[in-house]
């Protein structure tokens, strides 16, 4: 057997790892694209180090208008969907509209998520007016304060529109066009469903030890704050963890 295939196989491993490590280094090399501190409302873990998986991974939790209000008040309307590349030429109420919009695949976009800002306050107001009458008083204020507030095909353009790097983070996402009505009594309208925002954030040592010390059985859950940086490729890393009392 000649050695070429053996060397090639080893090279595939080395090249793939080098590519990943250089990519990661370049992500973290320059000044961060965004730097913000989130709490246990925005970062949740279903499992801080289980017997089968000792790693600690947090998951970003975000809020979007669709949760409680109709598309009429959402920024992700027909005009925005058109700028994102969707074909919105068919009347949503027409008989063949369902198939026409169903055939359009989700598109790769960038979304802006604002933490604890005007978008959150607006969402809270709307949420309380629709949910509070049903008795779920704590639901709205305890939801994630990280709200998806804009989308664009170009992350640089999106950053120029939302320049505050301490409260707004830009992330890749998918948007699926939907032909939907909040109530069968009303006509169908176009809206967007946001999917596939990268939510998993690995917590390395020594920060992961802080999470292992958390009392998981305490009620209410023990609060914490996590300092995050997002790099040139919009990929995050943890720079600090503070456990609350």
């Amino acid at each position: 057997m000649n050695r070429l295939s053996l060397i090639s196989a080893a090279l595939v491993i080395v090249v793939a790892n080098t590519f990943a490590l250089v990519h990661s280094e370049r992500n973290r090399a320059d000044s961060p694209e965004a730097e913000l501190t989130l709490t246990n409302r925005e970062l949740q873990s279903y499992n801080y180090s289980s017997p089968d998986d000792s790693g600690v991974t947090l998951h970003l939790v975000w809020t979007f208008w669709r949760t409680h209000v109709s598309y009429e008040t959402s920024w992700l309307d027909r005009n925005k969907l058109q700028t994102l590349g969707f074909d919105c030429s068919r009347d949503p109420a027409s008989p063949d509209a369902e198939r026409f919009y169903q055939r359009q695949r989700p598109r790769k976009v960038f979304v802006a998520l604002e933490y604890d800002g005007a978008a959150w306050r607006q969402w809270l107001e709307s949420c309380e007016s629709s949910i509070a009458p049903h008795g779920q008083f704590n639901y709205c204020p305890n939801s994630s304060h990280l709200v998806v507030m804009d989308a664009d095909l170009d992350p640089i353009k999106l950053r120029a529109l939302h320049p505050d790097r301490a409260t707004v983070v830009i992330l890749p996402a998918l948007i699926r066009i939907t032909n939907w009505t909040p109530d069968p009594q009303y006509p169908r309208q176009l809206g967007g469903q946001i999917e596939q925002i990268p939510t998993a954030i690995h917590v390395p040592l020594p920060f992961s030890d802080e999470f292992r010390r958390l009392n998981r059985s305490s009620q209410p859950p023990q609060p914490f704050r996590v300092h995050l940086r997002y790099g040139a490729f919009l990929e995050p890393w943890v720079t600090g963890v503070e456990l609350g009392q």
């Binding site: 595939v12 000792s54 989700p106 990268p198 990929e235 995050p236």
Partner: protein, 348 residues
Amino acid sequence: MNPQEAADRIRVLRQELSSEEVQSVLALTPDQLSRFDDWSREKLAALAQQFDVDTSLSQKRVSWGMRIVSTLGGFALCAAVVLFFMRYWGYLNTPVQLIIVILTPLVALAGAELVARRERTRYITGLLALVAVASFILNLSVVGDIFNITSTERALLAWGAFAMLLAYRYGLRLLLALGLLLLISYAAATYTSEMGYHWLEFYDRPEHFLLLGALVFAVPFVRPHVRNLDFPPVYRLVGALVFFIAMLSLAEGGVPSYLPWDAKNIERLYEIAGLTFSAGAIWFGITRSWNGIVNTGAAFFTVFLFTRLYHWWWDWMPKYLFFALIGALGIALVLVFQRMRKKMEVPA
């Protein structure tokens, strides 16, 4: 003809020549018999020496057992490596995690190479090569997790290329099938991504897989395999399975098609195409003596036929009658196959 097929033919010939029935019509002189016996023994011994082929039926049975055990053992070892790492990786700092995950596939590769130089049958080599591929998949997944890298389809290319290199180096059919599936997924994901969609949506448009399955099926026609003689059937089987599964999913749910027609019309088109192509696969397999393609074609022909009948009859027909008709159709198909088989009989 591969070495195992050559050994099988000599073994069968030896058995036939020693039977009384053949001896009654083919009388060889003792000298001829002795010379044939010596030649066939030497030939089998040489094949066994060079390729470690099975020279008796008992050996063949044991080899099948070893193949199954080594494959299952390989999968179990892969699971053990992944689970062991997951159990302890959280207690290691990032440089140590990286060293372990990068070295593991390299060590498994070195192990496979060392064993391959000592072993002709390739059971343990196959097992270690499978562990090397699984470790490489774990490697890139963990590096992606550690640095929160946004997932891309390029990992599929690296994994597929690695599996293919090991398959060709050690003559491993399981890794060839795995490598082909990874490369097919990579090609579909790249096209999907180039179209402006998320790469993970690649399974959403099965028509990609019709083309890719046909391409994989055609590879052995373009690139003859002189060394790995048992690889062309793997290409054909993987290609045919990918092609027919894609066609079946389009026949059952026409919405994800590129064709700008009504979903029902697309489903009808692919149902007819599925029946035609699977019947064609049976015919093509018979003419070329490709058992795998005959069986795959027959299985998909039956599935396409029964799903069509289900759509026609299930709603308006009593269930007992539906199953009775399916049973009757099964008998009719057996009769058709029997007639086909009879036509292929060597004339007396």
